[in-house]
């Protein structure tokens, strides 16, 4: 349906921009993983290419294919990432907090610490 040369050029330009954006997300993740000081800030950088970068690359691929047949599986791939990335980030972050793989001197405010203190005051442990 889009056989005119101008539409082809426009779609190619869009796909090119999306490809470069996706590559930039991965580059940002790499730089962030190298430069950032502790686990949770590295996680902040590491989740960039998981959702936005892969979305850009999948959109670019779907645009260059010029067919609707591959769109459901592209949506499946991205939706699966969108569902699983927060869960794994949550699990890793919680595990990192509990096992103290973090630098407390870099924190400005620890909201979870006050919550932990309040819970342990309301629920004293019955040891024995």
């Amino acid at each position: 349906m889009l056989e005119s040369p101008t539409a082809d050029v426009i779609l190619d330009a869009l796909a090119s921009v999306l490809l470069v954006v996706g590559g930039l997300m991965s580059l940002a993740a790499g730089i962030g993983l190298v430069r950032l000081p502790d686990l949770h800030s590295r996680m902040h950088a590491a989740t960039k290419p998981q959702v936005l970068g892969l979305l850009a690359l999948l959109l670019a691929a779907a645009i260059t294919w010029r067919s609707w047949e591959q769109v459901p599986i592209v949506v499946l791939a991205w939706g699966l990432l969108l569902l699983t990335a927060p869960v794994s980030a949550h699990v890793v972050g919680r595990s990192g907090y509990r096992t103290k793989h973090m630098r407390r001197d870099l924190l400005t405010h620890d909201e979870l610490a006050s919550a932990v203190e309040r819970i342990s005051r309301e629920q004293p442990p019955n040891r024995g």
Binding site: L33, L39, P49, G53, T84, V116, I119, S120, R127
Partner: protein, 207 residues
């Protein structure tokens, strides 16, 4: 134009993968390596997408789908078995161990550099210890074990209380039959409210 964009993207992905490999190699803890491996997997999937774009085929799209699931399972499974850092290296109120807040970007793997890394565990290989159990327990993880040991369950009300039985019986008679456990649990108090409420009901009917 598309080929140029593909080449640029490949270079960017390669640089990102280089940073990821550096963090996997250098990463002071297992969790750093886990998130780096996650990013590595995503970059591999991105490489497959770029290959599909430049060669115009759709062979690898299922691998991209599988990649998402594998990264998720790996992160969740490894994060379950992370060793608690030993307490002597956790000094929460002390000033910064390292005057430079960022680790050096240049991958120098000398021993002095490793000592300067603030998160390097003293024993990189140790037996997995459940968090909150044993001598490694301290303030920031003890709340979890305390919550686990306290056997906290939301309290359930067992049967109607005697304070509640009287106002229920003083209410106007409901068309439904009363609940069966009520007269069984309070056999002595049930005649009283009926005797006191029956004149009130008669007065209400007269008025």
């Amino acid at each position: 134009m598309l080929e140029t964009a593909v080449h640029i993207t490949q270079v960017l992905l390669a640089l990102g993968a280089a940073g990821t490999v550096y963090r996997i190699y250098k990463g002071p803890s297992v969790l750093d390596r886990v998130i780096s491996l996650d990013v590595m997997l995503i970059i591999v999937a991105s490489m497959m997408i770029v290959d599909m774009v430049i060669n115009d085929h759709q062979d690898f799209i299922l691998f991209v789908v599988v990649t998402a699931v594998i990264g998720f399972l790996g992160a969740v499974a490894i994060a379950r078995y992370v060793v608690v850092r030993s307490p002597e290296e956790v000094v929460p109120d002390a000033p910064a161990h390292d005057p430079v807040p960022f680790p050096p970007a240049v991958p120098v793997s000398s021993s002095s550099q490793q000592a300067g890394e603030p998160e390097t565990p003293h024993q990189p290989i140790s037996t997995p210890v459940m968090p909150g159990v044993g001598p490694l327990e301290d303030e920031s993880t003890s709340w979890f074990s305390a919550l686990a040991r306290s056997g906290f369950t939301p309290k359930r009300r067992e049967g109607p209380m005697p304070e509640e039985a009287e106002p229920e019986s003083q209410q106007p008679p409901a068309p439904e039959s009363p609940q069966p456990p009520e007269p069984e649990s309070q056999p002595d108090s049930t005649p009283k409210p009926e005797s006191t409420s029956s004149p009130q009901q008669q007065e209400d009917r007269d008025a």
